[in-house]
Amino acid sequence: MGEALHEITLTVNGVLREAKVPGRRLLSDCLRRELGLTGTHVGCEHGVCGCCTVLLDGAPVRSCLTFAVSVDGHEITTVEGLSGPDGSLSPVQRAFSECHALQCGFCTPGFLCSATALLRDNPSPTDDEVVEGISGNLGRCTGYQNIVKAVHRAAELMGDEA
């Protein structure tokens, strides 16, 4: 007998998506496998690296520490949903590009989601608040200096647009 499947409906990046998943399917795997959204990266799969961070009803969470079936009916925003409908980059994405806040890009989706939520809650964070806000995300290519700069730059860009 096969494993029981659960029918779930998620609103992912504003679009209603349906999937059939076993209870043990992690949200990270559901996004990548069932829904084909491979922007969400899977690093450590035990909540340390932060690469799989997505927004659940607006709040950043680890998609590798969440079962897809648990969030049936909820809203998810992945890195694919941060840009505008025409593909234009969000202020956070533009700032990461401008400040060279990424190199290989593996950790970037997680940083973008964490930073987006941080700036929504706190539009002009101090250095300490930025560091605390991204403390749950690891990056290995380079230091965090440019990432911190990018979050400040994103705050400026968002301020200009407001």
Partner: protein
């Protein structure tokens, strides 16, 4: 790393949850925030055959300031408790400790009661419940509700008094009495990591601002949070004339930490002495400040 297969249950009420847990017995595991459980499942260090997901039981998503303290329901996230200003007024040690629990992203999903039931002796919240003499309320299907005091709740590393078929429905964190202060100090290799050592302190002063009682709960130095009453060493003096070196020595003498790759036993013992003294002094100062405020308003 993927979890092994389990039967997934999604009850919508407390009664339904308890019925399922009763049926699952020792093979059932409760899923709330999952920030400790899902890593264990992913690494297959835990493989329950029934997972009971309480995320749809809205009645458990509660944080209330009651007579004498704060009651936190099983589904209240760390972030919700940390952000609540009424909780911070009723029991400031909760917010102080929650800021040290992992990272903000983890706290968005993790729950306070889940941290208690997980019963990691390196974690902050078990020490907070212990130093405050709090309690955890356990319910079971067709059985009595048990209110288990912190001293009996933590039974070993990652072991609590929750029995098969039981659900921890809420935890109660008593408020501090008047002229009492609290503090939490820890040292971790990186902010957000489990602490190598740490101490939650509560200090009460008498009318003359002398220390009437002083307690610390120490983390990462035993199988459960280690509660030490150091009132006698404080010798009923005002904080400024307490022999704090003797207090730190007393703490060091009464703990028996183990070493691991992060810290030797000797270093952990040293750190605990320093952190206990620091937390006690901050708590004593806070108690004195509160007393001053009381006088100026009175």
């Amino acid at each position: 790393m993927k979890p092994s297969a389990f039967d997934y249950h999604a009850p919508r009420s407390l009664g339904e949850t308890l019925e399922i847990l009763a049926g699952a017995g020792p093979h059932g595991k409760v899923l709330a925030g999952g920030q400790s459980l899902i890593p264990l499942l992913n690494m297959r260090l835990a493989a329950p055959s029934h997972l009971v997901d309480i995320n749809r039981v809205a009645a458990l998503d509660t944080v209330s300031v009651e007579e004498g303290g704060v009651r936190v329901g099983a589904l209240a996230r760390h972030a919700a408790v940390e952000r609540s200003s009424s909780v911070a007024r009723a029991q400031p040690l909760l917010r102080a400790a929650l800021k040290l629990v992992a990272h903000p992203v983890i706290r968005n999903r993790g729950t306070v009661v889940g941290s208690l039931v997980h019963a990691d002796p390196s974690a902050e919240l078990p020490a907070v419940l212990t130093v405050l003499d709090g309690s955890v309320r356990l319910a079971r299907h067709a059985g009595p509700v048990r209110e288990v005091p912190a001293a009996a709740f933590f039974t070993g590393p990652l072991e609590s008094a929750v029995e098969p078929g039981e659900l921890a429905v809420s935890a109660f964190f008593p408020s501090l009495p008047p002229r009492t202060g609290s503090a939490f100090c820890e040292v971790a290799r990186r902010h957000g990591d489990y602490a190598m050592a740490g101490a939650a302190a509560v200090v009460s002063l008498d009318e003359d601002l002398r220390i009437a009682s002083a307690r610390v709960a120490c983390v990462s130095v035993g199988p459960v949070p280690v509660l030490l009453d150091v009132s006698e060493v404080c010798a009923h003096r005002p904080a400024a004339s307490v022999d704090w070196a003797a207090v730190a020595r007393d703490v060091r003498d009464r703990i028996d930490p183990e070493g691991d790759i992060h810290a030797t036993a000797a270093y952990r013992r040293h750190l605990t002495g320093v952190l206990a003294e620091r937390a006690l002094r901050i708590a004593a100062q806070e108690a004195a400040d509160e007393r001053a405020e009381e006088t100026s308003h009175g």
